[in-house]
């Protein structure tokens, strides 16, 4: 049964196209319309059927929609909100999928007219790919979708959005926007910055070592490149818009890194061993929390480990992956 009559997707990248697939699969929207800045993306969206209709502008796309999803980089939210505001239907819900919440709220909320419900959101789901062809219906299965509604948000509008997210397979949590930004700085934003940095360092050195760095890049480095392959515009906007929390966590990170660096320099094996033992235990907590499996992996699929050759199409061939020691 459809939860919304007309859903307007503003931006047609990985998240929006996955939502479209998931809504189609579950019959959750009578109609899905959309817009994207690039004509090519709009044409692709029609071609692969994730939108029933596409519009050249966000102002046109939102008209008559009872759910509007802002799925553009965080830095583009303010302009989109200003553009769509006069065209939003009374009683509609506007949500977003931005990775930062305080900055999005500051950019969008002032534009939302009375009678329209703005409920900021953030699905903790994705891959390192982007664009309308990268989406798939199961992206949100068993992933968290965080909502950071303002106090006084209409309970019926919130419940309706929540039922859509749950129907797409997500686990939903509601939290304060500032708290969201701190938690994400730890679990996502700072790790991404660090991965980008390590890959950049290796790239400098690669020029010296004639591509050996790439050749011998089993995990850890390979896992870093995967993280560091994510969309540059999205991540630029994340760091510019979650500046304080990211700088805070980065400060803690460099402090701890310097302590480990000093232990290496001084040959303090006890310090290193105790630290590595502590971090190992954290892994268990994550497995218990159901956000990963205990299967030996490092990018290796469960089937490869079990000795069964993976089926399916794979552009680059499936390689059992290993961690170098």
């Amino acid at each position: 049964m459809a939860i919304y009559q007309r859903v307007a997707l503003i931006g047609l990248g990985l998240i929006a196209s996955s939502m479209a697939h998931a809504m189609r699969a579950g019959g959750l929207a009578d109609e899905i319309v959309g817009t994207a800045r690039s004509a090519e993306t709009r044409a692709t969206a029609l071609e692969i059927g994730i939108c029933d209709r596409v519009y050249d502008t966000a102002a046109e796309a939102v008209q008559g929609a009872d759910l509007v999803v802002l799925a553009v980089p965080v830095g583009a939210m303010a302009a989109i909100a200003a553009e769509i505001a006069p065209h939003l239907a009374a009683g509609a819900t506007v949500t977003d999928v931005g990775s930062v919440k305080q900055a999005v709220i500051a950019a969008v909320a002032p534009h939302i007219p009375a009678g329209v419900h703005f409920i900021p959101g953030h699905p903790l789901a994705g891959t390192e790919h982007s664009g309308p062809r990268s989406g798939f219906a199961s992206l949100f299965q068993n992933r968290w979708w965080l909502l950071t509604p303002a106090e006084g948000t209409d309970p019926a509008a919130l419940a309706r959005l929540l039922s859509l997210l749950v129907a797409m397979g997500a686990n939903v949590d509601v939290m304060d926007a500032a708290h969201h930004d701190l938690v994400l700085a730890v679990t996502s934003h700072t790790p991404h910055l660090i991965a980008y940095t390590m890959v950049g360092v290796a790239d400098d050195l690669r020029r010296v070592t004639d591509s050996e760095v790439i050749r011998y890049s089993a995990a850890g480095f390979r896992d870093f490149t995967r993280i560091a392959a994510s969309d540059p515009t999205m991540w630029r906007d994340v760091f510019l818009n979650n500046k304080e929390a990211t700088l805070d966590i980065l400060g803690r990170f460099t402090e701890e890194l310097f302590a480990l660096q000093r232990a290496i320099r001084l040959g303090d094996g006890e310090h290193l061993h105790a630290y590595f033992t502590r971090t190992r235990a954290i892994r268990r907590g994550i497995i218990e929390a159901g956000q990963d499996t205990a299967a030996a992996d490092f990018g290796r699929s469960a089937q490869v480990q079990a000795g069964v050759k993976p089926a399916g199409v794979n552009p680059a061939g499936v390689n059992p992956a290993g961690e170098e020691h």
Copy 2:
């Protein structure tokens, strides 16, 4: 056809047990014997059949073996080499699987008697698990195995070891030990230290945020915990024994990290975007080099993406994994 008559595995962890499985599967050794420091590990090795016989000491285990594999942490190599030296068979080959090569050569080579061939090696393969039960036959399939033989190494002994590694599925490269240690500092050792650090930072904060860090740890952070779950003793020894190269690369890393941190503080979006675009391209090089696949993954198996439910046993259940944004 067996390549060695009797292989002695000194240490029975992930690498040694995987070698045993791979040698059994290919009929590459007539007999596999082994030893480990712990009686429990020795009993497990017999129970699961990775060794035909186990011995209480390395000195006993190597007697009559034509291949001896030192598969203990790098810090334990010198004592083992001193212990086994008087008991090595004439014409035998001794190899190791340590992640650092110069330090292992310095620890082991002086003990090796004339007429015994010492050929240092390093398989770039592994998982975050350890112990005799963690091994599996396909661990080395399409992974690199680096050898760093001294000049003047007997070509026939080298060719024989090489044929074993290739028969276990590995790609073999021969390189200088110092060069090996630099390349690995970039592709493996420094990334591991950084992952350990980030997980440690999150753990500090976890106490404040009541396990949310774990709860919302889709990748990036989840990938870091996987790396940081590796064996603490092994990694302590890696850092203590590849000190110079690791400190060199760490120095470059912090320089670049500070530059990015400054760009965030100053709101320099162009710098961030250019940097992230450059690192994204490196990912392509790795896919082209065949060390990973282009399939959207973040720990997600290819089958899950394709919408096929993964078969197989999985202690914690299979969760499609996602990257938080």
